[in-house]
Subunit: 307 residues, 4 copies
Amino acid sequence: MMRLNESAKGVYVIAVTPFQSDGALDLESTDRMVDFYLDCGATGLTVLGMMGEAQKLTIEESQTIVRRILARVAGRVPVVVGVSAAGFAQMAALTTMVMDDGAAGVMIAPPGALRTDDQIVTYYHQAAEFIGDVPFVLQDFPLVTNVQMSVPVIRRIVRDLPTCVCLKHEDWPGLDKITALRAEGSLDRRISILCGNGGMFLHEEMGRGADGAMTGFAYPEMMVDVVRHRQAGEIERAHDLFDAYLPLARFEQQPGVGLAVRKYVMARRGIIANAALRRPGGTLTPQTVADIERLIARQDKRLKELN
Amino acid sequence: MMRLNESAKGVYVIAVTPFQSDGALDLESTDRMVDFYLDCGATGLTVLGMMGEAQKLTIEESQTIVRRILARVAGRVPVVVGVSAAGFAQMAALTTMVMDDGAAGVMIAPPGALRTDDQIVTYYHQAAEFIGDVPFVLQDFPLVTNVQMSVPVIRRIVRDLPTCVCLKHEDWPGLDKITALRAEGSLDRRISILCGNGGMFLHEEMGRGADGAMTGFAYPEMMVDVVRHRQAGEIERAHDLFDAYLPLARFEQQPGVGLAVRKYVMARRGIIANAALRRPGGTLTPQTVADIERLIARQDKRLKELN
Amino acid sequence: MMRLNESAKGVYVIAVTPFQSDGALDLESTDRMVDFYLDCGATGLTVLGMMGEAQKLTIEESQTIVRRILARVAGRVPVVVGVSAAGFAQMAALTTMVMDDGAAGVMIAPPGALRTDDQIVTYYHQAAEFIGDVPFVLQDFPLVTNVQMSVPVIRRIVRDLPTCVCLKHEDWPGLDKITALRAEGSLDRRISILCGNGGMFLHEEMGRGADGAMTGFAYPEMMVDVVRHRQAGEIERAHDLFDAYLPLARFEQQPGVGLAVRKYVMARRGIIANAALRRPGGTLTPQTVADIERLIARQDKRLKELN
Amino acid sequence: MMRLNESAKGVYVIAVTPFQSDGALDLESTDRMVDFYLDCGATGLTVLGMMGEAQKLTIEESQTIVRRILARVAGRVPVVVGVSAAGFAQMAALTTMVMDDGAAGVMIAPPGALRTDDQIVTYYHQAAEFIGDVPFVLQDFPLVTNVQMSVPVIRRIVRDLPTCVCLKHEDWPGLDKITALRAEGSLDRRISILCGNGGMFLHEEMGRGADGAMTGFAYPEMMVDVVRHRQAGEIERAHDLFDAYLPLARFEQQPGVGLAVRKYVMARRGIIANAALRRPGGTLTPQTVADIERLIARQDKRLKELN
C-alpha cells in the first residue's frame, strides 16, 4: 500500500466534493474530477478537506466519497484524507476506516481553542497516539483555525512524532517561516512542506524551499506548471504563467465565496456536472458570475500571448 | 411519546458520561446515575451536552449511551439530547437516530464562527429545517461558543421557528436578559427558559422569570431545592440552601477543571464507579482534591446547621 | 475649511509615517511623501491609520505629524485622520485637536469586543455623540478588527447618524456587500464608499459601485489609474494596468510584513529617506528583499509592454 | 521613593475612579475612597486598572487622578498604575509621568493579538525595554485579554526581565498554575503573586502560595480578613468570613455589569458620592438593585451570626 512520507512533492490537489442539484453525492462527476486532476499532473489528492465540504457529509457519505475516489485513483497517486474532528474517538474511527480503504495518510487541523505552545504540541501528541502508526499531515492554517503554530512548535511536533511527515503550510504571511523551517538544523529531520492558500504564493514558497502545493484552484495546471518550471530552473517562465492566472486565483481566494467560484469554474470547464454547494453554502450573484467570466476571458487571452 | 415543549420547568440535569478506568463506557454507572438524578427530583435529563464529553464519543457510543439512559428513564421524565455538530447532515442524522430511540427533543449550540445577528438567525433557520418537526433547545452559552445572541436575535428565532420551545440560558451576565425576554410582548409566545452556569445564579434567575435550570452540578439536589422553595414562596430558605452549596458550586464552575471536580464528587458519593474523564481530560492534583474535601466538609457542616 | 462629505471619491491614500533610523519622526520625508501622493493624483489623504503606525506615536507626535501633513497639503485635498481609541474621551480629544488643525474628517474603527448588531450600532451612536458634528468615516475591516458589520448594521448607522459620510469598505469578501449597499433603497441616502485591502479588488469594487479607494500601496498610481480609466469607460485598460501591479500588490498585502514591504519600496523609490518601521516592527529578510526586487523588475517590464 | 518589589503581599485594592453625575472626575470622593481603602487595611493600591475605567480618561485626567491619589496616600502604601496602551510610545510616556509623580510601579496587560509563546515573551521584552528600570506587574487575565500565558512563558519572562516583580494572577482556573509557579525551582527567583477575579478564589489561592490579592470588591475588608486569618493560621475562620461575602462577590464578579454593582455598593456605603460610571457604562436595572439589596441584607445578617 502507498503511504505518505517525507518525500511528498509536486501538487496534491484538494478535491472538491461534487453534488447533484438535489444535494446528493455526484459520483460520476467525482470520477471525472479525479481523471481531470491526474491528467493535469497532480502528484497526489487530498479529500475531505475544508474545501471538500467535509463537515456537511454524514459518516456514511464520507466513506462513500473516499472509496469512490480511491477506486478511481487506483493507486496511481497517494490520497490523503482530512480527519479533523471534534474528538479523538471520531478522528481515530475515521482514520481506521479510510486507511483500511487504502488512503495514504491523513491530515489533522488543530481545534480553535488551542492557544499556548504546550497546548498545541500536547494536542498532536494525543492525536498521534490515537491514530497509531498512520502518517499524518500537520495543517497550519491560522486564518481559518485561529491557531498560530510558531516555528518552535512545529519543531517539537516533528521531533516528537515520527508519523508527522508533511506540513501543509498555509500561514499568511508564511514565506520567512518556510525559510526558518528549512534552515540548517532547524528541524531534526526533513519533512515535506506543501503550501496552501490557493497557490497565491506558490512561486515564492518554492523559492524558500517548499516541495510544492497542497491546495485547490479551478486551474490546477497553473500549480503544476509553476512547480515543473521551477524544478527545471525556468524561474521567469514559471512566474509568467503564475501571473496569468493570478487575477482569477485572487478572486477564488476570497474567504467564503471562494469555493462557489471554484465549483462554478469547474462546472464551466465540464469537470463536474453541477456547481452547487451542499447547503448551507453560498450561491453566486449575477455580478459575481460576470466578474468571473471577465477574468477567465482575460486569462485565456493572456495565456495565448504566452504560448 | 413524550415531547419537549414550552412548559418545561424544574431541573433538567446535564448528565455526565461515566467511563471505566480504561476509557470504555460504564453502563452500570449510567443506570445508577439516572436513578440518582431522578431520585433527586430532576424533571428532565439532558445528555450528550458539552459536560457529557459528547465530542469524545464515536457515533456508535453516542447511540449506546443515549439508548441506555432512555431505557433506564423509561419515560418517567423527558430526555433532551445534544446534537450540535460541525454540519447539518450529521446533526440531522443524529437527531433522527435519537428521536427514533425515544428522546423528547434536541439541543443545538451555535458554531463559533457566527457573528452578525443575521448569521445566527439564518443558522437556526437551516438547522430547524434539517431536523424537521423535532422540538429543540436553543443553547445560548457565549463563554464557550463565543457567539453572542442578543434579545432581538432570540426574538426572531422564537418568532420564526415554532420548534424552538426552550432557551438554555447561559449568558453571563444574563439576569437582565431574562427580564427583557420575559417583558410583556417581548417574545410573541412564551417559551421555557432554563438556566445554566452550574446553577451559580439560579436563585436570581428564577426571580427574573426563569422556569428552572438545565445544567450540571455534583449536588443536583441544591437546584431542585432552590426551585421548590422558590415555587413555594420560601425565598430566604431557598437562598440559605443555595448559599450552603455555593462555595463548592463556585469551585466546580471553573472552566476546564470543573468536569473533573464534578465526577470526583459523584464518584465519592457512590453515584459513578470511576471519576475518570475520557482522554483528553484533566486529572485532579492532590491539592485540588484537598480543596474539594475541605469544601465538602464545610458544606456538610453548614447544611446540618440549616436543618 | 474643507470638510469630508458623501461625495468623496478617487483615491484617498493611507499615508505611512516616515521615521528616521533612530525612530524619530522624519518630517522632511513626510513633506516629500505628501508631494508624491498628490503628484500621483491622490484626491485625499488619510493619516494615523493602522498602516500609519498610529498606535506607536505619543499624542504629541500624532499632533506633530498631522500638522506637518496639513501644512504641506495646504488645502489642496481633504485630509482624514484616524482617531480610533480605547475610549471616547481620548477619541474626542484627538478629534478636537485635529479638526482645529484643519482636518476634513475622522475615521473610526470599531473595538474588537463588539459582537451583536446592537452593540455595533450603539458604539457608533456614542462615538458620533462624543465627536459632535465632525464628519466621520466608518471603517469596516473585519480581518483586523474582528468585528463583522452586516448590511443592516451599516444601514442603521447611516440612517441614524448624519455625520457618517463615508464607508471605508475593507470586508473580504466584500463585492456583494457593495452591491447590496448600492441597491435601490438600501441606504436612505447615498454615502461615499471607498475601498481598502491595498486595492487588491479595486477593479471589481468599482464595478459594484464603489467611488474609489482609501488604502495604501507603494504604487498609488496604480489605484489612480484604475479609477481614472474606469471612470473613462476604459475597462480593459484599467484591468491591464491593475494586473501589471497585482503580483507586487499581493505581496505587499501580506498581513504583518506588508507595511515593511511598502516602506522598503517607498524608500527605494526615493519617497522616504528610511524604510524603518518604528519598534516594534518587522524587518525584511534578505530573501524577502530578493522577492520584492524580482517583482519590481517584472512589474517594470510588464508596464513597459503595456505602454 | 517607595518601589514595588518581589515582597509585595496583602491586598492591593484596584481603585475605582469616582465621577460626578455629569461625568467629571470627583476628586473629593477620590480622597474619601483612598482613606477607606487604607482604613480597611489595604497594603497597596492599583489605579488606572480595567476596573478603574482608565480607557475612558484623557491623558490629562489620568494624570490628575493619579496625582490626587498619590497625594492622599502620601507614601503610606505603594501605588501601582496601569499603563497598558496600544503602543509602547504611549506606555513609556505614561510610565515616566506616573513614576515622576511618585508611583511605585506599573502594571502591563498583553494586547489581545498575541498568540504564541514567543510573541508574548517578545512583547514583554520590548515593554520592559521601553519603560526602563521601572518595576512592573505582569497581568495574566485571559478572560478579558484573550491571551493565555502558560507557566513556561511566565518562567521565561521572570528569568529574562528583572523588573518583573509581581504576577497579577487572574487566570481562571488558575489554582494549579500557582502551585506550578511556586514549585521548587519553577521560577529562578521568587516574585510576588497577587490574585484577581474579585477575590472569588482568594482562600484557595493563598493555600497554593499566593501572597494576597490585587483586585477589587465593594467590601475589601473581606480580602483583608481572609489574608490576615490565613496568615494567622485561622483557616476555618478565614473561610467562614469568605463564605459570608461570597454570594455578593459572585454577583459583583459578573462581567460587564460588575463595576456598576461595585460602585452602587460603594456609594451606598458612603465611600463615593455618585455610583455613576462614565459613559459608555451600564446602569443598574431596578431588579438588579433589588438583587443587590437582598444580598447585602443577607450578608449583614450572616456576618452578625459570625461575630
